[in-house]
């Protein structure tokens, strides 16, 4: 048995709202992917069998639209949170804690590459590393375009009055191929860069518990750690 620290010192990393929203995304994204792909591959026997389990094509379509609305509701809550964050809590969007991409991310990328090829020290990530930022923005922007094409496919009669008819077919292709892209991204990149990291291997729990251990905080987000220490020192002084 290794020596185990009974209760390692933990720090709050994610606010409760963001944990709930992440759960909303997990739930809806999974069901959207399942029902959507089953509907797209409805010509195949296995898809028909699984769709029958879901209660038929109508029920699968209903589930798909329900999850889409639910997911977009989550995005709206996120936007309201941003407004609340700025207006009520008087916090800043920019700065080192921000998820907005900055110059440091490019620098970090090259430094990380140098580190991987054994030519330098690892980059000192701040609150969010460039990969985490990529995850966030890929998901957020991807959901907008999925939402727009999905709306076009959901109300074709309305949109055919505004845009040419073949746009609906184009929207169909966009919707499908972007779904493939999103599922590949989440399934391969997001899963491996968060859960397959050796430090956390079976599973990264920070987004579910909201807490991060002191050791990992110092290793993975040294920039933020340093700033917090400085703030604490100032408080002590």
């Amino acid at each position: 048995m290794e020596t185990r620290i009974n209760s390692p010192q933990t720090f709050q990393r994610f606010h409760i709202l963001h944990r709930i929203l992440h759960m909303v995304i997990i739930f809806n994204f999974t069901f959207l992917a399942i029902s959507g792909f089953l509907l797209h591959f409805s010509g195949f026997g296995w898809a028909r069998f699984l769709i029958a389990l879901m209660g038929g094509a109508g029920a699968a379509g209903w589930l798909h639209r329900f999850c889409a609305v639910f997911l977009y509701f989550g995005i709206l809550v996120h936007v309201f949170w941003l407004i609340y964050y700025k207006m009520v809590l008087k916090q800043n969007f920019c700065g080192p804690d921000s998820i907005l991409p900055g110059k440091k991310d490019v620098k970090d990328l090259f430094q990380n590459l140098r580190y991987v090829f054994n030519k330098g020290t690892p980059p000192l990530f701040d609150r969010f590393s460039y990969l985490q930022k990529l995850d966030y923005w890929g998901e957020l922007l991807g959901m907008q375009s999925m939402g727009i094409t999905g709306l076009i496919l959901c109300f074709p009669e309305f949109f055919a009055g505004i845009i040419p008819g073949f746009f609906i077919n184009i929207a169909g292709y966009f919707h499908f191929y972007e779904a493939v892209l999103a599922v590949m991204y989440i399934g391969v990149v997001h899963m491996s860069d968060t859960h397959l990291a050796p430090d956390v291997f079976p599973m990264e729990k920070a987004i579910f518990t909201g807490k991060i251990e002191k050791q990992r905080f110092m290793e993975d987000h040294p920039g933020e750690w340093k700033r917090q220490q400085m703030i604490n020192d100032q408080k002590l002084l």
């Binding site: 409760i16 709202l17 944990r19 709930i20 209660g55 209903w62 009520v88 579910f208 518990t209 909201g210």
Partner: protein
Amino acid sequence: MEKATDDQRPKAFINKIKISNGNALMNLKTILSIIVGCALMIFMAAFNSTQAFASKLADLKAAKTIEEQVQKPLVQEPLLCLDCHRMPNINTNEGVIASQAFCYDCHKKEDIIKRNGVTAASLQITMDTFNDNQPDHRFIACINCHTDIARSPHKTQTGVTCTKCHTQHSEGPANDPHLRVSCQACHFQSKFVKLDPKDFKVKLAHNDYDGVPIILSKHILSDVEDEETCRKCHFKNNPVGAPAAVLPSKSILCMMCHNSPLAVGHPVFGLAGLIFMVGIFFMIAFWFKGSVKGEEKSLHRKISLSSESIWNTIFSKQVFSLIKIFILDIVFQRRILKESVSRWSMHSLIFTAILLRFGLSLFTAIGFYFNPEGNMLTALIDKNHWFTAFANDILGLFILLGIIWAIVKRFVIKPDHVVSEYQDNITLILIGTLVLLGFFLEGARILVTGIPFDMAVYSFVGYLVSKVFSIFSIDWGQVYPFMWYAHGVVAAVFIAWLPFGKMRHMFNTPLTYFIEAVDGVKNEKRV
């Protein structure tokens, strides 16, 4: 000469074989294998072609019958059925047009008339008229809806089957399922309806109220958004047993006891819902007035801390003890049972019956979204179905019995521990009036719609009430709307009053139980 040539030939042949002595056997083998290969290929090709042509046995049979049918006209016989009725495939547009053309062939003529004694009505319909009046059914064959008309005698038994493609209404669109009303009675632009004594359904009348046949063949649809359409049944002294006024739809607030649409409904319900939400908001705001885990001032911190602890409770082992508390202490009211059996019985009669009715209506509302055509859901939205009628009546009776018990306890027996506050009395009066009005309403409905005994007997309380009502010679069709509004208004008041009065214990008591279980008995959130 002839002989010489005869002798020479075999020699030359033998010479040839001798020259290619080494390869002779090989050649035979090659030739043989080529022949066998060709035979195999031909055999497999033949086998393969049949596969591609008709992969299933059923298809093969169909192909065979088609071949036979095609050959039939060759037999010299006068006019076979299939000479005219080519059985077009009405799943294709071509087939639909071919099938329609066959109907229009006769029905486009002006002298297509249905005689009813002296009077007569035209059955004329042309393709243009139909397509103008029902543009959405342009590419639907006549026999797709008039399923049993293409035969002799040329008279339908089943009528028109709309529900083959369309689903039936839930509570929402027609303010009621209207399961006793056939589709055309509302959706066709004819002012005359009748009550069919055979299957007890409201149907489109073929004669007007003076007995003169009317023209229905134009297939003109009515504007069902317009309330004027509803008034062809809902007027005073109507022949089909409909209430005299067009009533608004139920609201989502009615979900507490009835299956209802997910809509706001009448403005009164909207107002009640708004007051309910505001009340809930103030109730929660009141909870957060106290300190949460030592935090006294910042509301942001309080919300964040309390939601954090809820999150940690849900994703911990404690959640199982909470589920246990929910089932035993909240659904089965264990803590009241421990105090007094009579109190438990009284409270459970009211609470469990309302909970069961809420569960039933919630199940119906959600289930209807997924399977609107299922037999079970049809039964659940049908007020006259034996299960729904019986379940609703017996649960309503339980609530009424519980209320009567409580009233007797408070005002007649008056035990020492019962302290009757005005809030308790208001609650009892509200629920009691609500249930009583509900039963009156049901009785009036049974009386007005004239539901036969064997169907109405399952709603036994309502049937008794209807028998009592039938003593008074009032036009109950005109009283019914007033009773409906009274029931609705009392329900709206009850819902609006929930977060303010005594009924607040519906939210507070379970919450207190949960917080006690998580944090121990003492907690600042306790109200």
